[in-house]
Each structure stands twice: as structure tokens, then as C-alpha cells.
């Protein structure tokens, strides 16, 4: 027996009122040739109690990050999210509302999103932010197509953008899917052996539509050289920076070193990892890109009494008006997750953000120090500064090391050969505000044991 249907058992009464005799009358317009004649081959309905029991059994079979000592990040970050965020975001007025098409009864979400735009603008140092795109990967892709719309007319390298070679294949694939339709060629920017961007070869990107790099980059490196990118590529090429938003508590806002568009994975502010979705993509830009920006934007306005009020604005960029000439097909975005971000940010404040960034960076730096003391492994980019994560070079395959750490109760990190096949022995280890010093010691001890046993095996 199903629930959730207030009119169950009252069908006849309602059909009678319409002069109909059966539910079938309501579906008489479906031609016989396309009617489904068999019952759906699915199990019977369940009660709430049965569903939650099954959910507990199935999801309880998973190993949660919190059950283990965890060093897996790779762009997602398990920061603590304050309890008040979860309590407030499930208020039905937020949770069960649709896109605020009727601003008079949607001022709460509209204002919250306008405040979110302000928080993001301030964080990244740019004038304009939208109220989220799907995630960091689609944000990067949308930024690149946006740069082509803005710069292609005057570009010497038409329909061409440049992307850092370190951008993982999974993100690059999203970029390809979003750009190939426009005939956009995605060229590659090289990095130096120490992991920083090769500024000498960057000059080739001048005259293209856009350049996309990440800070910290996918190896966790904070690259001081990025502050010189804009002067090298020039005014007519968009400088697009992908950020880890928490880092900006202590790291310079890219808008202050020439970025035209800043995007990023917002998750670490406000949201659990949730198996990689829902997340929220940050998208901010200078005013020069505003009219070609994807996604929804809230503006401040007035009502007929002259009272401050908020509404969606610049919607002539969007698909429901511009249709196939829209700046993007995006409509549904990640508003509720962005709202969680706004709540977390407003609780942190500027000092709290700085401290959160310091905690993340201190854990990473401590780990780098401890792991670099182990003679049987190496930290290839040790002289660089890192945020959240860094690479450990092992004496054997990272996949085997991760399997060993799994038997010891550790989620040991990420096997970078998944992204860079030639790097079979590179392990990406990640640290967050939740990382404890004792956990770092534990990782160091296990890596020492595993690598030593491997070295012994090799010498024997």
C-alpha cells in the first residue's frame, strides 16, 4: 500500500465530479499501440520504516571517510561543517522552494543568494559572481566557453584556449564535452619539473581566447608564478584561475593578480563530499565578462513602494529567453548547496576563514615534513609550498601501497597513475582541518614500513 497520496480512495468521488467512470478514462488519449499493458516489473511499495532499514543496511556497508584515517582528497575536502548549517538548510521554506520566479514570495532565497554572490566576490577579488554552477569541473568548462564568446572576435588564435597539462583527465573530459560543439580547440600548457607552470612557454597562449590554470594546482602546489600570467598573455586573453576556496583565507585573491574569471569547487565551504555530488561550482568574473556569463544572477532592486527588494536579473542571457543563443543551457544549478556555503562563510568571517586555511595548510606542511624524513620515499616537489595535498613518490606502485594501507585501516590517498599513467609510483596525499598530528604519524609509520619492505624485496 502506498502513502503520500492524499486522494487515495477518493478517486471515484473525483471522477464522478468530472463525469468519468474510471481512471482509464483519463488515459484514453494514449493510443493503444503505445500503451503499457503489463505491470511495471518492480518490487512492491515499502513503508518508511522498511526504506530506512534498507538504507541503513546498504549505506552501512560503505566505508565512510570518518570510519578510517583518511588521506584521500584530490580536489574534494572533508572540512568540518558546523551543525547549524545542516539544521538551517533543511528548513522547508528553503528546501522545498523552486527557482524564485515570483520574487515577492521568494525574497529569502533571493537575498541569501545575493549575499552569496557578495561573499564569493569578496573571496576571489572580482566584481561579479553568479549563484553557482554545477561543480568545479563544469565551472572550468563554462569559463572557457565564456572566454571564447568574449574574446574570439579580436583573438589572433581564434577558437583556441589553453589548459594546464596537470588538469586531471576527468575535468579535461568535461571541458572537452562543453567546448567541442563550438569548435574550440583546447591546447595544453606545460609545467616545469618542479610542478610550477612553465612561464617561458606561456607566451604561446597570448592572443588566444583564454588560459585556464589552477591555484593550488592538482598536485597541491601554490604557484607564485601565476601572478605573472596576465602580463604575459595580455589584455585580450582571459586569465581563468581555478581555486580551492578555503585557501583564499591566507592566499592572495586571484582577482588581485590579474584573473579575469575565477572558478572553483565550492564544496569545502559548507558541504560534505557526498560521493562527489551535489557540490557547487563557483563562478566569478570582472564586469567585462558579465553579459557572457552563464547561470543565474540576483540583482538588488526596489518594489513599487521603493522598498529594497531582490530579483533574478540579466536573464536575457539565459535559455528560457534566448533559447539556442543562450550563454549556457544551465537553469537548475546548486542553489541549496551554495546556501550551505553562504551559511558556513558567514559563520567563519574573515578571521575564521584565515584560521581554517591555516589549519588546512599547517596539517599539509607538517605531513610534508614528516614524510620527507622517510628515506625510502621521496617528496618530489618538496621545495614548493603546498595547500591541502602533495605528491609522495614511492618505491613501488601507488595502487599497491593504497591496498596495503587499506589493510591497516587507512584510506591512504589517491593513485596518480589514474590521471597521469606515466606516474605509477605517485601517491597524492591530502590533509584537511580534520587531520590530526597522530594520524600523520600513523601514515608516516605505515609508509616507512611498506616502502622498506618493498626495498628489501628489491634488494633480495
Amino acid at each position: 500500500m502506498v502513502d503520500q497520496l492524499p486522494n487515495l480512495g477518493r478517486e471515484k468521488e473525483m471522477l464522478d465530479a468530472m463525469g468519468m467512470s474510471s481512471i482509464d478514462d483519463l488515459f484514453a488519449d494514449i493510443p493503444e499501440a503505445v500503451r503499457m499493458t503489463e505491470e511495471l516489473p518492480l518490487p512492491p511499495p515499502q513503508s518508511e520504516e522498511e526504506i530506512i532499514a534498507d538504507a541503513r543496511r546498504l549505506l552501512g556497508a560503505n566505508v565512510a571517510l570518518g570510519d578510517r584515517v583518511n588521506f584521500l582528497g584530490a580536489g574534494l575536502n572533508r572540512n568540518y561543517v558546523p551543525a547549524s548549517v545542516f539544521q538551517l538548510v533543511t528548513r522547508g521554506e528553503f528546501l522545498t522552494s523552486y527557482t524564485p520566479y515570483q520574487p515577492e514570495v521568494s525574497q529569502g532565497m533571493l537575498q541569501a543568494m545575493w549575499e552569496f554572490q557578495t561573499l564569493i566576490s569578496e573571496l576571489v577579488g572580482l566584481e561579479v559572481a553568479n549563484l553557482s554552477v554545477y561543480d568545479g569541473s563544469t565551472a572550468a568548462a563554462e569559463a572557457l566557453t565564456c572566454s571564447v564568446r568574449v574574446h574570439n572576435r579580436k583573438a589572433e588564435q581564434k577558437d583556441t584556449v589553453y589548459v594546464s597539462e596537470l588538469v586531471p583527465p576527468s575535468r579535461r573530459s568535461v571541458i572537452y564535452n562543453y567546448t567541442q560543439g563550438g569548435g574550440i580547440e583546447v591546447k595544453t600548457l606545460r609545467h616545469n619539473p618542479d610542478g610550477t607552470l612553465d612561464l617561458d612557454s606561456l607566451a604561446q597562449a597570448a592572443g588566444s581566447c583564454g588560459v585556464y590554470v589552477e591555484q593550488p594546482n592538482p598536485l597541491g602546489i601554490l604557484d607564485g608564478g601565476l601572478t605573472r600570467v596576465k602580463e604575459i598573455i595580455g589584455q585580450n586573453t582571459a586569465f581563468i584561475v581555478g581555486v580551492a576556496p578555503v585557501s583564499l583565507g591566507i592566499i592572495e585573491a586571484p582577482g588581485n593578480y590579474g584573473a579575469d574569471i575565477v572558478i572553483g569547487e565550492g564544496q569545502a565551504l559548507g558541504s560534505p563530499i557526498t560521493y562527489g555530488g551535489p557540490l557547487y561550482g563557483i563562478f566569478a568574473c570582472t564586469k567585462a565578462y558579465l553579459r557572457q556569463m552563464p547561470g543565474r544572477i540576483v540583482g538588488r532592486s526596489i518594489d513599487v513602494d521603493g522598498k529594497e527588494a531582490f530579483c533574478l536579473t540579466l536573464s536575457t542571457r539565459e535559455q528560457h529567453i534566448r533559447r539556442h543563443r543562450a550563454t549556457s543551457n544551465i537553469c537548475t544549478n546548486e542553489t541549496l548547496i551554495a546556501l550551505m556555503g553562504a551559511m558556513h562563510m558567514s559563520l567563519l568571517g574573515p578571521e575564521g576563514l584565515a584560521k581554517l586555511a591555516q589549519r588546512n595548510m599547517a596539517a599539509c606542511q607538517l605531513a610534508k615534513q614528516k614524510l620527507s624524513e622517510i628515506s625510502t620515499i621521496a617528496v618530489p616537489h618538496q621545495s614548493n609550498s603546498h595547500f591541502n595535498e602533495f605528491v609522495v613518490e614511492l618505491p613501488g606502485p601507488a595502487s599497491e601501497c593504497i591496498a596495503y594501507l587499506d589493510t591497516q585501516g587507512l584510506i591512504g590517498g589517491f593513485d596518480l597513475s589514474t590521471w597521469y599513467p606515466e606516474r605509477a609510483n605517485w601517491l597524492l596525499v591530502s590533509f584537511s582541518d580534520q587531520t590530526k598530528a597522530t594520524e600523520i604519524e600513523l601514515l608516516a609509520a605505515h609508509l616507512a614500513v611498506w616502502s622498506a619492505s618493498l626495498m628489501q624485496g628489491v634488494s633480495a
Binding site: 483519463l26 484514453a28 511495471l40 518492480l42 533543511t90
Partner: protein
Amino acid sequence: MSHLFEHKGADGRGYSQPEPVAPVDNLQIPSTLVRSSPPRWPRLSEPEMVRHYTWLSTRNFGIDTGFYPLGSCTMKHNPRVNEVIAQLPGIADIHPLQPEHQIQGTLAIFHEMQDMLGICAGMDAVTLQPVAGAQGEFTAIRCIQEYFRSRGELGRTKVIVPDSAHGTNPASAAMAGFEIIEIPSQEDGRIDLDALRAVVGDDTAAMMITNPSTLGVFEPEIAQAAEIVHDAGGQMYYDGANFNAILGRTSPGLMGFDAVHYNLHKTFSQPHGGGGPGSGPIGVKSHLAQFLPGPVVKRRPILTGDQLTSANQEWWYHWHQPANSIGKVQQWHGNSGAVIRCWAYYRRYGRSLKTMSEHAVLNANYLRHRIIMEAEKAGVRHLFADGAPVDVVKHEFTISMAPMKEECGIGAMDIAKGLLDKGYMAPTVYFPLIVPECMMVEPTETESKETLDKFAKKFVEVLQEDPDVLHNAPITTNVRRVDEVYAARNLTLSYPFDE
């Protein structure tokens, strides 16, 4: 009016954190990258923060607040147990790069969802990766594009959409690089088969269409349309925004479609959260399966050596990369948290999903009937016209306020604002574009007969209001009619700190 940025507190002590695990006075930050000035964020203690967001929530209308008949958006009740389940650590606190043996429960649920969605739509293979309906459309069109490329049919560069289509259809196809051919609908909103015949050819890649149409009307000639497109060598794409109308009664597969997207946040009750997150899985027929974004979940019988868990009763679940996958449309595995909620919702119905759709259609027809009856009784039936003159509608219906606009200058937007004053969310207005002064009403299956009866009465009361009252509506809301032109002309997209 209270602004977040007016909370200035003295310092960051409103929210305390543990001390860092190591001293922070020698953090190795490159000198050029030291933050020069902090963001001008507000400073709130938890009491202030909780009050601010609670206050904002009271200025927002959700399904929990009242009836939300927003056409095409399927605003049904969101069962709360789904929220509880989505916060379990087995979904909230897992990482998409964890090895398969650590996430058998999630993979089991994904597999069940892929199967269920395939069954309901008559499709052979499903991916859960697209994170919104529009992204699902784009993904399916990309699969179709690669299908033709694999066959060397490079001249198939056009996608056909009816003029009643959702704006995302042409936008998604254009993003994939297709040229859009828009065909007019017939007077009653149905597909014009002659217009379709006139545009199909060896340059046709696909037709994108939703059925029931955006008018809430089932296209009786859908199979013929599919035949025309298929005969020309094109593919049929089903926009699943209106899927809530037909589960268990027909399916896109039976109608002749090759690919379909699902709006899990509509049909399967992922709460829409003021604009997202959504989830937009796609299903395809077998000939398109090899192009799906990867990976998708497969299962095999349990083997010796598998690290069995409480999720492995008969099967071992694993990721599988389709042979000629288009790659990724989201970096990870889609909006998994939404998929889990929708799994919990689906489990409430199981094979009775048909009953869910029947009640959605029952409620839509009943409300339409009630509005007409009330209007006749009050002598105002002449003030609105049917969007489509049909005996039965499906999950939603459209009415045109053009007669009223003609008679007294009151249009769909004024009626919408009048309904806000009655305590309702307004129906969708001015869509589809082919119905003048359109209002699109979708009650969903989770509204009671009493709610529908009352709404019909109130709707007709609004029709009888003094035009001046409606021009001035709303007056009971937090703000009155908002000047959207002012917002666009005086762009203030963030808090003006210097004002």
C-alpha cells in the same frame, strides 16, 4: 530589512575552531601569494547567524508553506525521511575515488536506480551522471552526436525542436554544436506532422520533444513522428520533464524514442532547494549505450575472495566504462546525494509508480474541471480560454488569460500576483510561448481534493477582483511588485560596501 553584511562583530571569535596541528608562523607561502587584504565578510556569532537565516527562510515560499502549482516543475511533497537517509555517513561522508569494495552499498543503490529508470522509460541502459535536466539533454545529444560520427554520418548537423519546447532543448543542442530547426505546432499545440516531414532529411540528427507536451496534452501521433524521424535516419530524444504523467501507462521506449532524460528532482522528489540541486540521468536504447558517459554500474555473481558486505546478498557491484563513452559531463559520479533521495522515494511506490502518475493526472484534470465549474457558476468563464481544447489533460494544463487581457487589461502576470495575495505560489506564466497570456498549472499527486477545491474557488475570486486591485497586487507579501527593469538598469549584484 536586515543585511548579513551589517553584522560587524569585533573579531573572529563568533565561531571557534581547534588550534592548528602545527605552528602557523612559518607557513611557506610564496611572497607574491600572501593575501593582501581579507575578504570583507561579515562577523556573526552563531545566535546571529541562526537568526539571520531563519528570518530569510520566513521570507520564502516552499511546498511546505503552501500549494505550489508551478507548471512543468512538478512541485510534489518531499518526504523528510529522504533527507535523513541522505545525511547518513554511508553517502554524505564517502569519496568518489574510494575503491569499489568500500562502496558496495552505493553501487547497489545506483544499480537498482539504473534498472528502475530503464524499466520505467523502456530504455536499455542508464547513466546517473548528469546533474540536471538540461545537462541530461546535453549528454544525450552528445551521445547521439558520437553515434553518428561513429557511423561516418557527419552531415547530420540539425536538431529539430517544436516551438512549444523548453528553452533548454535548443540551448543544449546548440552547445553540442547543432543547428536548431524550430517547427510550428498545430493550433491545438500538437505536433504538425507535415511541418516535420518538410524539415527532416539526411541532415537530421535528432528531434527533441516532450510528451505530454508543454501544454499538458498527450501527443497522439507521437509514434508517427518517431517513424518520420527514423525513416530519415534521425534519432528521437525524449525530454523527461513531464515524465510524472505517464509512469506505468506508457513509456518513451514504447513511443519510439531512442534517448530520454529524467528529472529526478521532479518525478522522484529530490527537493529543488530554491533552484537546485537537481539530477538528470539519461536512458538510451542499446545502440547508444556504448556512448554513455562513464562509468556506469554493473553487477556480477559473487566470487570467492570478494570482500562481502551487507550490501552483497547475491551480487558484486562494479564500475564499467562504456566502450566508446563520450567521457564525463561532471567530474565525479553525478549528484549522488540526489540519487539516494530519489531511490528512497521510488521505494515508497515500487511497482505502484503507476498509481503515482494516475493521481497526478487525476488531480490535474480535477482541478481543471473545478476551475471551469467555479468560473461558470460565477459567470466569468469567458475571461480565460483553454490552452489546448482537449477532453483530458495529463499532469498539467494551460489556460490563456488573453480574453481577460482584452476585456479589462488584466493579464497572466496580474492573476499570478493576485494568487500570491491568496497565499498560493503562482502557476508558471508566459510559458509555453505559443499560448498567449499563458498560465500553466500542475497540482501534482500530493495535493488533497480539499486543497484543489479551495484553490479553484480562490482562483475564480481573483478573476472577479477589481482590475485596480490586481494591478496593485500583491499587497500581503514581504515586498510588493518588484521592478525587474530597475534591477537590470541599476546593476547591484553584491552588497555596496561604499554606499
